[in-house]
Symmetry: C2
């Protein structure tokens, strides 16, 4: 019997992947969680029917949400990840020797549990002594934090289900308050082919709060359209004015110093969303 | 009844698109040709089961295969397109006022015929007086040409079926001969996620023939992995040393002067294919 998992990325278009077996399936307190073993992408975490991460292409997302802001900040020591229960962003953050503490605030403990079990090369660094894992509401954690972090990364699901409030202006204002005076923030902000309105809205909201607001992209084959965007809000540090000697050797498969610059060059129809 | 078209981009992964109807289906002398009307992407040309172009995202491919080399060359007058029967590359070429003649050599006249009928905004410029359309074998046309073109663009299908010989070293040597002494050549060379070997092979072959060989990328959501590569071979002009005043105003939706530079910045795992 051939089994295929299909994600409808829009109501009229999707991706489909042959699967070897379902490793785990559960309705958690927050969402439907499925872990499947696919032939093409290895193990794949699916939340509410949407691909969150796969063993084969996870490096793109995790490197690009992390290293662009962490190289933008001259001395990132305290880093917060909202969401990101698979642990991939934490793994990348810890590649920066300046980082002393990385806090992960994930609302759904089951994501952490099953990522540790089935995606060990992604989640393995959650055990590092520099990491503090809090299973709680990211929105509340942000509301309670002040002048606490150098970097905040929002590694959320799409703006449906538990992540809706993570795409609100109030949340970005809270992030600004939770950041130190030269803090940098990045959120994943979906794709320009199917979610242009979302990108536009987030960009305008962030721009009203952060002096430096920039959109950048990366290619993620299992995400809708393959072209993913990240929105950066920065208080003082400009991502395109990083001093050459700041770039240190780092073990990556996607990110390079060249990509750090180039990822901010937007295709015209994407650039138009920032106007 | 819900009808969905699925392209298996690998044996274990694909894309699937809801269709309104099949506009035309035919086994030509060279390949299976299907024109379908999809909900998400508008009309879509499918050859041998593979998406060739769609009304919604065609601009990316057509702009990026054309404008990068046409801005690299200081005065492109005579341009050859091998393949490209849908006419999209011709449309982009003609946006450059220096172009006096654009020759299209397409092996399958049916591709031209049905593109004119169902993709008029893509194929419309095939009627321009500067355009000469030849329905013949591109490999033979190249073999018979010498010192004839400023630019040659290879807009072929995948290296299966009629396009196999368009991915051979002999073909690239022929292209070099067919180009003038400062000619520039670009071929579409598939994606790095599923076809890394092909990219590596083409790059090495082209590098043995052209003094300047460069790989660049663009995001094309309906193509496998969404990350597409183009390989450029150039005799004298370097794509990253284009004089600022060469860039003239041009009507595009993806290409910009910034993208011209940034598209050559390769993700690390792609850059590694050029070593």
């Amino acid at each position: 019997m051939d089994l295929w998992f299909t994600e409808k990325q829009t109501k009229d278009f999707g991706i489909t992947a042959k699967i070897k077996r379902t490793l785990h399936t559960e309705k958690t307190d927050f969402q439907d969680l499925d872990m499947i073993e696919t032939n093409e992408w290895g193990n794949m975490l699916v939340l509410d029917g949407m691909v969150m991460t796969t063993q084969k292409d996870e490096f793109v997302y995790h490197e690009m949400i992390s290293h662009v802001p962490l190289f933008t900040h001259p001395n990132p020591q305290n880093v917060l990840v909202v969401g990101g229960g698979d642990g991939g962003v934490i793994r990348e953050i810890l590649k920066h020797p300046s980082v002393q503490k990385a806090v992960l605030v994930e609302i759904d403990g089951k994501v952490i549990e099953y990522s540790k079990q089935y995606l060990p090369e992604i989640a393995g660094k959650l055990e590092d002594p520099r990491v503090e894992v809090k299973v709680t509401d990211g929105f509340m954690h942000i509301a309670e934090s002040e002048d606490a972090y150098d970097i905040i990364l929002v590694d959320s699901t799409e703006p449906v289900g538990p992540a809706v409030q993570l795409f609100s202006k109030g949340f970005y204002a809270g992030i600004s308050k939770a950041l130190k005076t030269d803090g940098v923030f990045v959120a994943q902000t979906d794709n320009p082919w199917f979610k242009a309105d979302l990108i536009q809205q987030v960009y305008q909201d962030v721009k009203e709060i952060f002096p430096i607001t920039k959109l950048y992209t990366a290619n993620i084959p299992t995400y809708p359209s393959g072209l993913w965007t990240f929105t950066m809000g920065s208080k003082t540090h400009h991502p395109l004015e990083v001093k050459q000697d700041r770039f240190h050797e780092i073990d990556t498969k996607y990110y390079t110093e060249e990509i750090h610059q180039a990822c901010f060059a937007l295709p015209k129809f994407v650039k138009d969303l920032t106007k």
